[in-house]
Every structure is written in C-alpha cells, then in structure tokens.
C-alpha cells in the first residue's frame, strides 16, 4: 500500500512538473503578444508586428507540448487516482470539463487563425484573434486554479451517504476565497517567466550582435514587464496567499515557514536554515524576530502556532521539501526584483545595452523563473498533504484500488524516457526558432 501511494505520487509529480514548463510560458507570453500587436496597431512600426508573430511561433511550440503532456494529466486522475475521481468527479469534473469547453477550443481555434490568417483578415481582426488566444489561455489558468482551490479549501459541496462529494452550489466554486489570490499569483508568475524569456532572447541577440533592433525591443519590454510582474507577485498577491494559508491551513503554514516550536510574543521569519526532523529544529538558522507575525497579521507580537501545536497526522508528510520549496520560491522572487530593478534603472539611464555582465545575467536567468513557478506549486501541493481535499479526503484514500505499484513504476519509467525525447524536441524547435529570428527567410 505504501509503495503504491509513493509511485502514484511520484508519477503525478513528475508528469505535472514536466507539463507545467509549457503552460506557464504560454499564459504569460500571450499577454506580451497582445501587447506587441496592440503597439503595432497604435504606431504601425513593423518590428512590433514581427515581435508578436515571432513569439506566437514560440507560443505554438509550447502549446503543442502543453497538449501532449496535458492529456496524461487529465487521464491520470482516472488511471492512478480512481477513488479520488469517483468521489469528487461530480465537483472537480465541472471545472475540468469547463476548461476544455471554454478555454482549449478557444485557444486552439484562434491560434491557428493567428498564425495562418494575418493576410486574410486584416490587422484589427488579427489583433482580436491574438486577444482571444490570450483569453483562452488565461481561462485555462482560471479553471485549473478553481479546481485546485476546491482541493485546498473545499466549498459548495455535499457528502452523500456513500461518501461521494456532489455539487451543492455551482457559483461557490468560483467565489471560493482561495481562488482569486491563487489565480492572480499564478498568472503573474507566468508573466514573470515569459517576460524573462523575452528579455533573455533580447539579451542573446544583443550579445551576439544579431537582430539588434529586435534584441533591444525584447530586452526593454521583457525587463519592464518583468519588474512590474515580479513586484506584484510579492505584493499584494504573494502576501495575500500567505495569509490564506495561515488562515485555512495553519499546519502547512507552520511547516513552510519552518516554525517547529510556538514562540511566545511574536514569530520570527526564517531566512536560512535546514530542517532537522530528528531534533525538531532548524540547523544553521538565520532569522529576524517578530517579522512573520507582523507580515501575516500586522501585529508584532501576535502568536503563530508552530508545528508542536498540531498532531502528526495533520502535518504535511514531507516537511523539509515543503520548507525548501517555499524558501526557494521566495528567495528567487526577491532576487528577481533586485535584478529587474537594476535592469530598469540602467534602461532608464540608456546604458543597459552596453553593460555586458548585466546582459549575460539576464540571458542566463531564464531557468530560474521556471524553478520559482514549479517550487511555488510544490508549496501548494506539498502543503495540502496529507490530504487530497483539505481536511476531508486523505491522499492515501484517493489512489486506484486495482493498479499495483509494479504497473505504476513501469508506466513512470516509460514517461521518463518519452519525456526526455520530448524535452529534446522542444529544445530543438525553440532553438531553431530563436536562431532564425523574428524575420525568417522570405518566401
């Protein structure tokens, strides 16, 4: 039983981590594409239009990857988490089916039109198709976050005698207090990723002294969007989410902040330290007193319950992983604000194009927003443990009763092998597109 749960979780974690490389780019990038196209409509400068079309190519590659790695996500609810699907399908099936209906159809129909139809439909309609692609991809974020919000903080349900959860109030799924902050935080995080990608490609062109005009445009747009979204990511959305966790999942809050013992008179904020699960303390800790209480409740001496206040069965089952994910996310977010502030400062001084070390830094920064996004989701998912539906359905109760661990290990190995190949393909396709540049060969 234990190893069944382990392999089911590992397979889900692996496939969702790989999958989420792609949507986090498409959601944010669609916003930037709409921006470029809008600028072009206003100023009629050709390079903005080229930028929109160039990034739509990168969008399309990511969209394709998102589709092929997304189908296994949906299927796995049934294949590996059958009991969970049976019990909660009447609720989370709603939001998942709506995602397909309202977002994927919109996204895929208008993506094709954006790519093939510019000459046929004129500039205003072309802008509109781009906007609809943006709308579709953000709608998909909305429905997935609504699904996840229900698992984090279940609302609008009723439990039948046979243990099944059925919908009692449809609109409650969307007015869930967990949803809006999580959605905004997630979308901004995806804007961070795509701004960094755009800035990074810009920096690459500038360093290589190739497509300079585009390089300058990408860098400028990328760092401005990057700074604004990084700031909004920390405050208000990050703050708002942390307060929600403190309110609705206090045990997870204690674990992610690394508070082993409840402190009298205000909790400190931990900057660095390694959880020592044997002695129940943080090793090599650096912390600032009272800050956590202030940040969370705006009261310096408000008491925050530590892990000692909760039963073992209520605490997340992998506290170090949760703690590290949270601290990596927050740490990277802080670094992003620093680097992007610097970049915007030198942009404003009109010096950025000549500061090679900064260009190199921006170019190589590109993996880190991906890491921050993914560790952010680890915080949400590890923090929800040991539950699938917080407070109601335990993870161990959700797995498929008939699928043995041997079968899951077999399929996990297959996914690993196939995704390696897929990852390689992705790099080749994106690499070629970047190499070709915004103005490909004329036909």
């Amino acid at each position: 039983m234990e190893d069944m749960i382990f392999y089911d979780r590992l397979q889900f974690a692996f496939t969702i981590t790989f999958h989420y490389i792609f949507p986090q780019l498409t959601m944010g990038l669609s916003l930037l594409i709409v921006y470029f196209k809008w600028k072009y409509l206003r100023n009629k400068i050709e390079k903005y239009n080229d930028a929109a079309k160039f990034f739509m190519k990168i969008f399309a590659i990511n969209f394709t990857m998102g589709v092929v790695t997304g189908i296994p996500m949906e299927f796995q609810f049934g294949t590996n988490w059958a009991k969970f699907s049976e019990l909660t399908g009447g609720i989370i099936g709603q939001t998942l089916a709506m995602e397909g209906m309202f977002s994927f159809f919109l996204e895929s129909s208008f993506l094709a039109l954006f790519i093939f139809g510019e000459k046929l439909m004129g500039q205003k309609l072309h802008f509109l198709t781009g906007f609809l692609v943006f709308l579709g991809s953000w709608a998909s974020g909305w429905f997935i976050l609504a699904t996840n919000a229900w698992m984090q903080h279940p609302v609008g349900y009723e439990i039948l005698d046979n243990g099944k959860y059925v919908l009692e109030n449809f609109s409650a799924l969307f007015s869930n207090p967990w949803l809006l902050p999580a959605f905004l935080h997630n979308q901004l995080a995806s804007v961070v990723t795509s701004s960094f990608v755009v800035a990074s490609i810009g920096a690459f062109y500038l360093i290589r002294n190739k497509n300079i005009e585009y390089g300058a445009l990408f860098l400028k747009t990328g760092v401005i969007f990057g700074l604004v979204s990084s700031l909004l990511l920390a405050f208000p959305t990050g703050d708002w989410n942390a307060k929600n966790v403190a309110k609705y999942q206090p045990a997870s809050f204690a674990a992610m902040e690394g508070i082993f013992e409840t402190e009298k008179g205000g909790a400190e904020i931990v900057l660095i330290g390694q959880p020592n699960m044997v002695e129940k303390k943080l090793d090599n800790k650096i912390a600032v007193p009272n800050i956590l209480s202030f940040l969370t409740y705006q009261e310096w001496d408000k008491q925050i319950p530590g892990m000692d206040q909760f039963k073992k069965e209520e605490l997340p089952d992998n506290i170090p992983a949760l703690y590290y994910s949270y601290h990596i996310m927050v740490g990277l977010g802080t670094i992003f604000i620093g680097i992007m502030s610097l970049a915007v400062f030198f942009l404003w001084k009109r010096k950025i194009y000549n500061i090679k070390p900064l260009l190199w830094t921006i170019m190589f920064l590109v993996p880190f927003p991906y890491i921050a996004n993914i560790t952010g989701w680890y915080v949400a998912e590890l923090g929800r443990q040991p539950y699938l539906v917080y407070g109601l359905l335990r993870t161990s109760e959700g797995i498929s009763p008939t699928v043995s661990s041997g079968n899951t290990l077999f399929t996990l190995l297959g996914f690993v092998a196939l995704y390696m190949l897929l990852g390689l393909l992705f790099l080749v396709l994106v690499g070629k597109t970047i190499h070709q540049g915004p103005r490909p060969l004329k036909h």
Partner: protein, 357 residues
C-alpha cells in the same frame, strides 16, 4: 438528464474520432503508400497542421466523462490502466515523429520519424478499436474469482491479455480475438477516412491511387463487418435486442451501412468532399451503433456477481448534471461560432500553407 449527457459525450467522442481519425488514417496511408518525398511531406503536413486541435476534443470528452459519470471514469481508466497509458505514449510519440521529421534536412532522419509517425498512427487506431471492443464485450467487474469479488463491485483490472486470447474466457484480457477484429476494423475504417482526407486536402501524386485503395479497403471492411456481426452473436447473444425494442435506434446501423455502401462508388463521386462525408458516416455510425447496442449499459459485466455499469449507476447528482448542461449549451454555441470562422478562413488545399513552426 443522464441520457442528455450520455448523448453529448457520445457526440464529442465521435467528433474526436472523426477529426483525429483522419490524421491517424493519414499516418496509416503514409506508412504504406507514400513513396515519394514530396507526398510524404504533404501527407505529414495534412496531419501535422491539425492534430493538436483535434486532440482537444479528446481532452474535452475526458473532462465531460469525468464530470458526468465519475464512477465510470474511475472504473474504466484504472481498469484499463496499461492500454490507456500505452495510448498516451503513442499519442506523444506520434507527435514527436510529426514535429521532428522536418527539423533536419537529412534523409535517414526523416525516414526514421516518418516510420514513428506511421507506426504509432496505426497502433493508435488499433488500440482505440480494441478499446471499443472491450466496452461492448464487457469486463470481469469486481475482479470476481470463484464467485467472490476481489475489489469493490465497480472496479476491475484487466491484464493486456489472457493466455487463451478468448473473449469467452472467465477473465478476458484487453486483447483477445474479438477485440482484435474490432481493432482491425477500426484501422481499415480510419485508413479509408485518412485517404479521403489526403485526397480532399492535398494535391499529392497518389490521390488517384488512393481511390483504388479505398475501394479495395472497403471490400475488406465489408467482409470484416459481416464477420464481426456474426461472432458478436457468440459473445453477446442479445446484442440486437435494443434495436428490436426500439426500432428508431436502427438509424445508427443505417448510417454505418450507407457510408459503407456509398464508398463503393468512390470513383464516380463528383466531389472529393462526398467521399469524406461517407467515411465520416462510417465512423459516426460505427460508434453510435456499438453504444446503442449496449445502452443504457456503458460497461457490461461478464460475471453474474456484479451488475453492469450503466449511465444511471455511475452518474453524478442531478444538480451537477443540470448546471453543466447550462454552461455546456453556451460552450457549444461558442464552439460553433469558432468553427464557422475557422472554416471560412482555412478551407481548401493545404499544399501552399505555411507551417506554424
């Protein structure tokens, strides 16, 4: 309300097989009949431009099944664990083949990924057919062994095969001689459909040859259809009962056979689109007839201990279904609008069209 959702999901699934069916079919044709590089290129393109938006229909069908019939979703997806995951692998592998092939201008490279595309298309068609065969044949629900259920009544786990390869065995596997027949029928049907798609959308040099191919495949399909109907009798003697009780259901087999009959005149048809419509009828009629034959059951039980899964004992609450119907109607109207816009802008042959990436 259950019936509404059953019909909606059946339609979405049928549309998925009609749409993704043509690009599976194009892959099968590509594997066996495309010899010249130019044809290979354009056939791969006729699938490559559309497959990802076609597979959105699979995602939507899955989501709706999850929402409306969660017990069925849970039972079937975990019970057919291995074949489903293999289907996922094939979908991914096929996508890799399609997207990789034209990345490097090197003959061996293209040949390799062309084969990957063709073979995975063929296997996908086969596996989807086998899946349909399993649904109409039924499974050992509850994993009954010596009169006792091993699992809860609506759960099961099917091995890929049972050593007897017989659908009449106590514990039939995913692959047996009956499901293989249905699988081959699906391969042939989709090959015909794919060939029609290629004729319709491209100017490939084998378009004329393909008409002969379709004619011959149609003969094979007719023989296999009759044969499968005969052997179906041995597995489920009551499979015609629904049609006798409710004669209006006969419309579905009529759809199938009109497609089958019409395709014999492939060379006389005035427009290529007519042939494509006929093979669409084949797929539509085939799926709907199979579902109508077991309705309201959606997964028959092969033992006497546990009852079959029906749309009634696997559905979610009435409230959930009716709320979903409201947004479903809005969604379909929107979808219809998108399709009209898309059709107006993207009709015609694709030879000159530019790849997105």
């Amino acid at each position: 309300m259950e019936i509404f959702w059953f019909i909606i999901i059946a339609i979405v699934l049928a549309v998925f097989f009609i749409l993704d069916g043509y690009d599976f079919g194009a892959g099968i044709i590509h594997l066996f009949f495309a010899k010249e590089e130019k044809d290979k290129e354009v056939i791969a393109k006729s699938a490559g431009l559309f497959w990802d938006s076609n597979e959105v229909w699979l995602v939507v069908a899955g989501g709706m099944l999850f929402m409306a019939f969660p017990t069925f979703y849970a039972s079937v997806f975990s019970g057919f664990y291995l074949p489903l995951i293999i289907v996922l692998w094939l979908i991914i592998f096929r996508a890799i083949g399609l997207e990789f092939r034209s990345q490097f201008d090197y003959q061996m490279w293209r040949d390799l990924w062309d084969k990957a595309f063709g073979i995975s298309s063929l296997l996908l068609a086969l596996f989807f057919g086998i899946a349909l065969g399993n649904i109409v044949r039924g499974v050992n629900l509850g994993g009954v062994d010596k009169g006792e259920s091993v699992y809860e009544a609506h759960y099961f786990f099917l091995p890929l095969w049972d050593s007897s390869f017989s659908p009449l065995s106590e514990t039939p596997g995913v692959i047996d001689w009956f499901t293989i027949i249905i699988g081959i029928i699906t391969v042939v049907t989709l090959a015909i459909h794919g060939a029609n798609w290629i004729i319709l959308k491209t100017n490939s040099s084998i378009n004329n040859l393909l008409k002969t191919v379709i004619f011959k495949l149609n003969i094979v399909l007719s023989v296999l259809t009759v044969f499968s109907l005969v052997v179906w009798q041995t597995i489920n003697p009551d499979y015609l009962d629904n049609f006798i009780d409710k004669p209006y259901l006969l419309i579905f087999p009529v759809i199938y056979f009109s497609g089958l009959f019409g395709l014999f005149f492939i060379k006389k048809l005035k427009k290529d689109i007519y042939a494509f419509v006929l093979s669409t009828l084949l797929i539509l009629g085939g799926i709907t007839s199979s579902l109508a034959s077991i309705f309201p059951v959606i997964l028959p039980s092969t033992n006497d201990v546990n009852e079959s899964l029906t749309i009634y004992n696997t559905a979610t609450s009435e409230y959930g279904l009716s709320v979903a119907l409201n947004w479903g109607i809005v969604g379909f109207i929107l979808l219809f609008v998108y399709m009209i816009i898309q059709k107006r802008l993207m009709g015609g042959k694709i030879d000159k069209m530019d790849y997105g990436h």
